[in-house]
């Protein structure tokens, strides 16, 4: 029987992600803005009117939980943690967190309640959990931190009662620095180049980068570039190798194309998106049509597999998408002249752009509200029939100034309205600011409201916003009764 060196085993079995968890807030890597906000919140928590709970939301491995713990240890707060692996039904939450959140009779130590993965309350098992959390958040005298990947998974009531702080992915440069510090500390020899690749592959997920580093450092003490291949997050690179084969970059071997497609760690459902997205202009019409025909057939089989829940159809889907597209290339016989192959980094690139749309959606909504209030029209009408036209009006800067003055738009809103014209983002922003300044001058000139230029813009803005909110409320009420005194779009001409 083998005898293990116990000390050695225990000494080395610590995960580096735990070992190097930051103890102080300033040790938290990246997300300076978020950390600053978190500090402000922690200061304010003692004040009577401050929100007692904060939501830290952001992608995995960007330091949300770490920041929460670092904050607690820095301030000497006790920590009570409840996460998704505990049952979190209403009863459980109230019995654990409830008393802790309101009482601190025995000592004056503050207790920080950390609710990890708060977006992951489970429907059945955690019945009532969401409601209970919202209630506790409202009543709590003790600070609470809720972490989540997706703040939209948490319910609006809960969000309203919390300060939300957004965490972003950690930049590769910073990931690199952390990795090289850790490897210095652990005494492992590792090429900078390797660390750089690890940092890049991590995609802003610091925890996974550290895990990868630990994993490969366990395998060899001296690390070379090649070690990374088995280390983990290299699936993305693989798919490009597969695409090369399917697009016949290196020859027309069907069997090989198909096998490489089989061995990539993606389902045909996902693979077809990659192929489709990258299957394009390098073909002439006839071979393009040929390839597309088989892609559509492959897609048909995917649908059948899904509908019949019979995954044997995946094999037809795979071979049609791989061989069909490859044969299109063979048909054409080589590359079209002067065409440079460049792969999309993700089949979801178009969807990502609509993510930006999502970002601008609130701005669009604010504008619609202002129009609704000003013109006394229903919000939905403003949203669909007025806002799109405003973008055309804003091509003319003089009209833009007038409209801005009447609607009291702020800079981001103006920027949104000029953004669809064909000028660059920077120029657009300047134009927006110019319009804003002129609009203020116009507004003062007409003496409509006591907006003074001397006041800092911020104050002016917040005042305007307040007024607007009141207007909107009034507007909505009026709408219910009878829409009178309707101003129309014609007012703008």
């Amino acid at each position: 029987m083998r005898v293990y060196d116990i000390m050695d085993m225990q000494g080395s079995s610590v995960e580096w992600t735990e070992k190097y968890r930051p103890k102080k807030l300033r040790e938290v890597v990246g997300n300076e803005e978020a950390i600053k906000e978190l500090k402000e919140w922690a200061e304010a928590v003692y004040k009577a009117k401050s929100k007692k709970a904060a939501i830290l939301h952001g992608p995995p491995g960007c330091g949300k939980t770490s920041a929460a713990y670092a904050l607690a240890s820095e301030r000497g707060w006790e920590v009570i943690e409840l996460n998704a692996s505990d049952q979190r039904s209403e009863g459980v939450i109230k019995s654990i967190v409830g008393p802790a959140s309101t009482s601190n009779t025995f000592s004056h130590t503050t207790r920080l309640i950390i609710l990890d993965e708060a977006d992951n309350l489970h429907g059945n098992e955690d019945r009532g959990g969401k409601k209970a959390i919202t209630e506790i958040v409202k009543k709590s005298t003790q600070p609470m931190i809720l972490t989540a990947n997706d703040k939209y998974g948490m319910g609006k009531a809960l969000q309203r009662n919390c300060r939300t702080i957004k965490f972003l992915q950690v930049e590769p440069g910073k990931v690199f620095r952390v990795l090289s510090e850790i490897s210095d500390d652990e005494g492992i020899e590792i090429a900078d180049e390797t660390l750089r690749i690890l940092a890049k592959n991590a995609n802003g997920d610091l925890r996974s980068a550290i895990n990868d580093l630990q994993a490969i450092s366990m395998s060899e003490s001296k690390l070379e570039k090649g070690d990374i291949a088995t280390g983990g997050r290299d699936v993305e690179e693989d798919i490009f190798a597969v695409l090369n084969k399917i697009f016949g970059v290196e020859g027309y071997d069907m069997q090989e194309a198909l096998f490489s497609l089989y061995s990539v760690d993606k389902t045909p459902e996902e693979s077809i998106q990659w192929i489709y997205k990258n299957f394009s202009y390098e073909y002439d019409e006839e071979s393009f049509l040929h390839g597309l025909h088989y892609l559509s057939r492959a897609d048909t089989f995917l649908g059948r597999a899904r509908r019949c829940e019979n995954f044997k159809f995946w094999r037809y889907a795979s071979s049609l998408m791989a061989c069909g597209v490859l044969s299109a290339k063979e048909m054409q016989g080589g590359k079209r002249e002067g065409w440079q192959r460049r792969y999309f980094r993700s089949p979801w690139q178009r969807e990502q752009r609509s993510g930006e749309d999502r970002k601008s959606a609130p701005i669009r909504e604010e504008i619609a509200k202002k129009i609704g209030a000003y013109c006394k029209v229903p919000l939905s009408y403003a949203r669909f029939f007025v806002v799109p036209f405003l973008q055309f009006f804003f091509l003319d800067e003089r009209k833009a100034v007038d409209i801005t003055a009447s609607l009291r738009l702020d800079v981001p809103q103006i920027a949104f309205l000029v953004s669809d014209t064909e000028i660059g983002a920077k120029e657009g922003e300047e134009k927006a600011k110019r319009i804003y300044r002129e609009a203020i001058a116009v507004g003062v000139g007409e003496g409509e409201k006591e907006v003074t230029v001397e006041k800092s813009k911020k104050e002016a803005k917040s005042k305007v916003v307040k007024e607007e909110i009141e207007r909107i409320k009034e507007g909505e009420e009026e709408e219910v009764k009878e829409v009178k005194n309707q101003k129309t779009l014609g007012d703008f001409f």
Binding site: V3, T230, R233, Y316, C323, E330
Partner: protein, 319 residues
Amino acid sequence: MQREEIWTEKYRPRKLEEVAGQNAIINNLQSYVRRRNLPHLIFSGPAGVGKTAAAVAMARELYGDTWAENFTELNASDERGIEVVRNKIKNFARTMPIGDAAFKIIFLDEADALTDAAQSALRRTMERYSGTCRFILSCNYSYKIIEPIQSRCSVYRFKSLSYDAIVSRIKYVADMERLKLSEDAVGAINYVSMGDMRRAINALQSASVLSSEIKPEMIYEITATARPEEIEELIKEALDGKFFEALDKLEELMDKGISGYEILAQMHRLVINMDIPAKKKVELMDRIGEADYRITEGANERIQLDALIASFSLYSGKD
């Protein structure tokens, strides 16, 4: 008398070096054993390529005699609710390892069958009990594991086994069982296995019941598989316009008890390597799939197969 065991269990690798055909991965796992420490792991890959084998072998090497106490295998597809994670996994994870081990290993088979909610419950458990416990999640596709868990694991992708990997292990098993195994029979086993070691060993064991001298026919017969040459001939004749000859071939195969599905699957598999133009291959594969779909949906097997072969015959004139 010696009790007959299932060979896939009997010949499950005891050591990492016995795990066939995954050299790069095994090398890494061996160094984890040397350092007596490992991160959480995800093993992804198709069935029968050594995921469980590698995990068990690693546990044996790590723990020696106490491996069974420190290694638990849970099949996620049996019990895949969130309460499994909250109760069963957590209870195992928080008890101390037995003997002098520093941590225990939980092997979660078919982890991609865990619901998203169960997976999110798992992620913090993994972190919290990392002092006493390591997780190995096995799955067919790693992308079905939620990102926060992937972020906590090192991901290893097991590939379909090569001919050499299957052959070397099959020969080893045949030696141990004192079987005579011809080269042709090895080829046949490889053909029916489709890169799945479990299937290869099962085929060998089934054939061994008939005789200790393994011949290729036995392998095909026992697995109800047609010989690849027969299928190829069938396709060729059909493409040459010899419709009735091809139909006879089909009749013959069906008489042997080979199912229509199996015939279609094999046609699909073989067509890719046949000596016909690329465009034609793709079209044939498409039609085979279509026939398979229709039969699955309840259409008559014979009519669809006959029609498929007829369509091959008519297709022969075009290029």
